[in-house]
């Protein structure tokens, strides 16, 4: 099974390629994202607490205790997820090279996803209401094949996102495909 691998792939041109280097996302992004998820979960948990504690249709004391314990448990897990999410978002980064665009992500599993520009089918700059408020944007890149795995760079300053998009659209391979 174990055969010696000989494969002359290192030619002159190849050695000129530099590996992608991580550029961090916008400094505000991880905080904004964490704030959004904190607010979302807090609202959800407060609603749950209100439902349990409301005096109109009182729940028996034993049931109330169990429900409150469950809510506390969920809060603990959610806190962990939110904290983890903060560091995970902070660890994300990107790199635009002449010929490709790379997304870095992962805290436990470090992933480097590289999308050659000549394979991009179309590209979108997306901004939700919160993104608009804080001047951020997401860059969504589409290629053929596996739809489940989307290539999306979040947390870019709007100007950065637009200039990356323009850079990609101006690439000769993109013009070639129309």
């Amino acid at each position: 099974m174990e055969t010696p691998f000989t494969n002359a792939i290192l030619d002159v041109q190849h050695s000129q390629i530099t590996s992608p280097v991580k550029t961090p996302l916008d400094a505000h992004y991880a905080i904004v994202d964490t704030a959004v998820s904190t607010v979302f979960w807090s609202v959800l948990l407060i609603i749950a607490l209100c439902v349990v504690m409301q005096p109109l249709w009182p729940i028996p004391q034993a049931g109330r205790d169990i429900a409150i314990n469950i809510i506390i448990g969920i809060s603990a897990v959610v806190t962990l997820i939110v904290v983890f999410g903060y560091f995970a978002e902070k660890a994300k980064g990107y790199c635009v090279r002449e010929q490709d665009i790379t997304l870095f992500k992962g805290l436990i599993f470090n992933k480097i996803i590289t999308q050659p520009i000549c394979r991009i089918q179309h590209i979108e700059v997306k901004r939700g209401p919160i993104d608009r408020k804080v001047g951020l944007a997401k860059l969504h890149v589409f290629s053929a094949g596996d739809i489940s795995q989307t290539f999306e760079i979040p947390g870019l300053a709007l100007e950065t996102a637009n200039s990356i998009r323009n850079e990609i659209l101006a690439h000769k391979e993109m013009q070639h495909h129309g």
Partner: protein, 523 residues
């Protein structure tokens, strides 16, 4: 007919007054009846338990059952006629337009140059009248599939030829300035088909035997043997056979022989079904090729025809089930775009894939050679992945399961301590077998992957068609200088887990270099 063969773009020759909407032949009603019937049968499957329970009542009042059945049949015919009445199509200016649907109206507009596949099908009820139905696949979403039902076969064939010519004339103009190495001469006569492969009945029988998974089903049923037997026992008692008294009175050897013959009967029956299925789907199999296409034709009851342009094929897979390995046969699959595959699956038939059943390795070699020149999928030596694969699955999946089972068997008298031990040994065996099968290899043009557990699948991925690539590494992997690669093609994604970090890095760099520097078309 004669003038349509001249290589002249446009469809005017097929359809003179092209701005009018046309109805198809009333034979389309048969098509709709079949379709509704299949839907009904699929749902009937879920109703079988209810039928089984209500059987006595139905027997008591046959009139109600007759009423229901004739009502259903009436509804089917009614909706079939209605569907036929609203179906319209139009061919104009190089597009196919289809209007259909009773409740949800559908209007599909498909330009010829977006059509990726033209499929002619001939269900048995069309064969007497020499009719056929045509399906057009576009590369895109599900809703963009058009179907013309009930056309005369000669008309369908002419239309197919027209579309292909129209497309190749456009493609030729587009690719004049591209140096296309694979297809030296762009468009020769599209009718020059050469038969590449045929499958005999004995091949199909072998395919039926090897592709049936009865032994897996039986293994899965094993834990429920008691329940099944007691259930059957009750049912048989109802018929007048007292299993209990037989079990109590007959000598052991007799019961044993009875059980073995029952087992063989089930296996034989399932194998027969599988063989019949294989023959129905693949009867009269031919794989032919033109200068730029593979065309697959087969089918006993409904004749299917799939034609796939060679340039659209994204990956070649040589699949072997356990029994295939014994017989030395392969099932060869050539996959296209993901979207198209799901379209076909949604249609309920995986007969539309470009599959060559039960072929030998040398036949695989020749067939793949046309698509991926100079490939070595059939006889390449694979490099093993790291043994850490075993450690990883043992520590993250097998050990936790074993721990939970041991804990519950320690606190629960019902669960024998042999269970966790058995589960541990079994799962470890599976993980080891999986590791044993994993392998990869790279050369200038292709990445090869082998994986499997009982069976063995070998993949050939052309590097120039890769869409994107992921290099991933966890903390522990980094410590052991390992990394995983995930390769995305138009047909899906393919993993190479836990290989040497530097090799992974060099493959990653090389793939990007190759894709980006050559920028070859992947379609």
């Amino acid at each position: 007919m004669a003038n349509s063969l001249s290589p002249q773009p446009g469809v005017k020759t097929v359809d003179e007054n092209s701005d009018n909407w046309h109805r198809v032949s009333p034979l389309a009603i048969l098509y709709y009846i079949e379709k509704l019937f299949i839907i009904l049968l699929n749902n009937l499957f879920y109703m079988l338990p209810a039928l089984f329970v209500l059987w006595d009542k139905i027997q008591a009042n046959p009139w109600i059952a007759t009423g229901i059945i004739s009502g259903i049949l009436g509804l089917i015919s009614f909706f079939s006629v209605w569907s036929f009445m609203v179906f319209r199509y139009r061919l104009s200016e190089g597009t196919v337009e289809v209007k259909s649907g009773i409740f949800s109206k559908k209007h599909v507009n498909l330009p010829f140059n977006r059509i990726q596949n033209v499929k002619i099908e001939q269900p048995f009820y069309y064969r007497f009248f020499n009719f056929s139905s045509m399906a057009f696949d576009s590369g895109g979403s599900l809703s963009q599939e058009a179907r013309l039902i009930a056309l005369p076969l000669s008309f369908a064939k002419r239309l197919q030829l027209e579309i292909n010519e129209y497309k190749s004339s456009i493609a030729y103009e587009a690719s004049v300035n591209e140096d296309n190495l694979e297809q030296g001469k762009a468009s020769s006569n599209p009718a020059d088909e050469i038969i590449e492969n045929t499958r005999s009945i004995s091949d199909l029988i072998l395919h039926g035997i090897t592709s049936n998974r009865i032994y897996i089903i039986l293994a899965a049923l094993a834990p429920f043997v008691d329940d099944i037997f007691s259930f059957l026992g009750e049912k048989l008692e109802g018929v007048g056979i007292d299993v209990q008294s037989h079990l109590a009175n007959d000598p052991i050897w007799q019961i044993g022989i009875f059980a073995i013959s029952l087992f063989l009967l089930v296996v034989g029956l399932m194998t027969m079904l599988s063989i019949i299925g294989a023959i129905i789907i693949f009867y009269g199999y031919t794989l032919s090729r033109t200068h730029d296409k593979y065309i697959r034709r087969s089918g006993l009851i409904t004749k299917h025809e799939v034609s796939v342009p060679l340039s659209r094929i994204q990956v070649a897979v040589m699949k072997q089930d356990l029994l295939d390995i014994l017989f030395g046969r392969f099932n060869l699959r050539l996959d296209q775009l993901n979207a198209q595959i799901s379209t076909m699956n949604a249609g309920g038939t995986d007969t539309s894939k470009l599959l060559v059943p039960s072929v030998f390795a040398y036949e695989c070699r020749d067939i793949i050679e046309r698509v991926f020149p100079n490939h070595q999928l059939h006889d390449i030596d694979f490099i093993a992945i790291s043994k850490r694969f075993i450690t990883r699955y043992l520590s993250f999946i097998v050990l936790p399961i074993t721990a939970i089972l041991s804990y519950s068997s320690f606190h629960n008298d019902g669960l024998s301590p042999l269970v966790p031990v058995g589960v541990f040994i079994g799962l470890t065996g599976l993980v080891y077998g999986r590791w044993l099968r994993w392998g990869y290899q790279v050369n200038r043009h292709y990445i090869y992957i082998q994986k499997g557990l009982l069976g063995r699948d070998k993949y050939c991925l052309p590097i120039t068609k890769i869409q994107k690539i992921t290099f991933s590494q966890s903390y522990f992997m980094k410590k052991n200088q390992l990394a995983s690669l995930k390769i995305y093609l138009g047909s899906g994604s393919y993993n190479i887990p836990l290989i040497d970090q530097e090799h992974a890095q060099s493959i990653y760099d090389y793939v990007l270099y190759k894709v980006e520097s050559e920028a070859k078309s992947w379609m």
